[in-house]
């Protein structure tokens, strides 16, 4: 035995080894297949990562989980390696997420299943988006093409919108906390924006995984402000998009869904102006027609009254004429007068008395020769 070799107590050895590990590898990031995954007391998480030849034990809390997991997924775990005085070597996990397209998809499906059961994606939860909004809370990376596309299309389409930009990372581990904090920031404002837009461009499954984490999906679903989430291109649908009030296929599409087109609106205003004019014209011409009709009715009404009066007058005149003594004389009758008085009885007329007969065309004086009473 070499006399110079150090001899440790067990506890000293554990302490020295931990110091050495802390110096050489304060944190390590390990990728491997998840196995023996279990959750204890709804708080503690135990699992192994393994490959063909080796297996390493891990320990963590459920708060570091990006969503539900199951054995067989390929996980990337960052943590602190440590030799426990009693339970041996393990890595205390600080963060963990599935990696590789297959595992990310599988983990997303597990989370989607869980959140669907909770009703997070229920269509009845979807709220209407103000159209157009006066204010927007935009959660994006100011350096991203997504941000520039959104602003460009918004400026082309509409005006007068106050946009508050929360400049966040949109991929990688830090992005999750930043996006959640930005959503909370806008929700806590005394005068919150009318709508929240969460957006980023397309990317690999790894790049977009942030938007399918439980934290981001729950933050979107829990927002009091209506949300539009636009991630990637047409084919990528993240869980945050499913949880949003409205999903846009691209950042440009988010601007399109949010606002009307200024040119179309101006055209519509010109049409409204013409419509307004023609409607008032119609009301005026309707009133003019009505007046003309009433004027005609008035004329007709007076005309027929006059006609009736004329007919009556003519009838009365005819009657009057028919009853006139003159008319009787024309029919061959005569008015007999004696010393200017009309004689209507034979009795009382003396023989030899001169009588005057009035006929239609003149007078005859006659002398009474005989009288015969009836």
């Amino acid at each position: 035995m070499d006399n110079n070799e150090l001899v440790f107590s067990v506890s000293d050895f554990v302490a020295v080894l931990n110091q050495t590990l802390e110096y050489a590898y304060p944190t390590v990031t390990i990728v491997g297949e998840l196995s023996n995954f279990r959750i204890s007391k709804n708080k503690w998480v135990y699992f192994d990562l393994k490959d063909e030849y080796s297996s390493v034990k891990f320990f963590g809390t459920i708060y570091q989980l990006s969503g539900p997991l199951e054995d067989g997924l390929t996980m990337q775990v960052r943590g602190v390696p440590r030799l426990h005085p009693l339970y041996g070597f393990s890595v205390t996990a600080q963060s963990m997420q599935p990696v590789g397209e297959g595992s990310i998809k599988k983990a997303e499906l597990l989370l989607q299943e869980k959140l669907t059961k909770e009703g997070l994606f229920d269509p009845s939860r979807k709220r209407a988006i103000p159209y157009p909004p006066k204010s927007v809370g935009l959660i994006a990376s100011s350096e991203s093409a997504a941000y520039h596309d959104f602003i460009k299309v918004l400026n082309e389409r509409w005006c007068g919108v106050d946009i508050s930009l929360a400049d966040v990372q949109v991929q990688g581990e830090a992005a999750i906390g930043q996006i959640v904090a930005a959503i909370e920031h806008f929700n806590q404002k005394a005068i919150p924006p009318e709508v929240l837009i969460v957006t980023r461009g397309g990317g690999s499954a790894d790049d977009l995984a942030v938007f399918s984490t439980e934290q981001v999906t729950r933050a979107v679903a829990g927002s009091r402000i209506p949300t539009i989430v636009a991630i990637g291109h047409e084919i990528d649908i993240s869980l945050a998009e499913l949880a949003a009030d409205k999903r846009a296929s691209t950042p440009s599409n988010a601007a399109q869904l949010l606002t009307p087109d200024k040119k179309a609106t101006l055209n519509q205003l010109n049409i409204s102006s013409d419509t307004l004019w023609s409607m008032v014209q119609n009301i005026f011409s309707g009133q003019a027609d009505d007046l003309a009709r009433k004027s005609l009715d008035l004329g007709n009404s007076i005309g027929s009254t006059l006609d009736r009066a004329e007919q009556l007058l003519r009838a009365n005149n005819n009657l009057l004429e028919a009853l006139s003594p003159k008319s009787v004389l024309k029919r061959g009758f005569a008015i007999i007068r004696s010393t200017g008085k009309v004689v209507d009885k034979a009795k009382g007329i003396a023989i030899g008395k001169e009588l005057s007969l009035e006929l239609a065309d003149g007078y005859i004086t006659v002398k009474t020769e005989a009288i015969e009473l009836k």
Binding site: P130, P132, K134, L138, S142, I151, L154, N155, W158, C159, G160, V161, D162, I163, S164, L165, A166, D167, V168, A174, I176, G177, Q178, I179, V180, A181, A182, H185, K262, T265, L266, L269, S272, S273, T275, L276, W277, M279, V280, I283, F284, Q287
Partner: protein, 66 residues
């Protein structure tokens, strides 16, 4: 000074209601003229707004570091 701080949604709704009201045809001449004048005024205000208002971007000061 041009007015660019109008409530677009409110004015737009008022215009729609006014057009629907005129379309219904219940208005007399006097109120039709008033509605026409108000409608044209709204249209001019909305056009001016669309021509002159700008979008404004303000960066939130918080860094959102987790």
């Amino acid at each position: 000074m041009t007015k660019t701080t109008i409530d677009y949604t409110k004015l737009s709704k008022e215009l729609d209601e006014l057009l629907a009201d005129l379309q219904a045809g219940g208005s007399d001449i006097d109120s039709s003229i008033k509605q026409y004048e108000r409608g044209m005024q709204i249209i001019e205000e909305l056009k001016t707004y669309l021509a002159q208002a700008k979008n404004k971007v303000t960066k939130v000061k918080s860094t959102f570091s987790s």
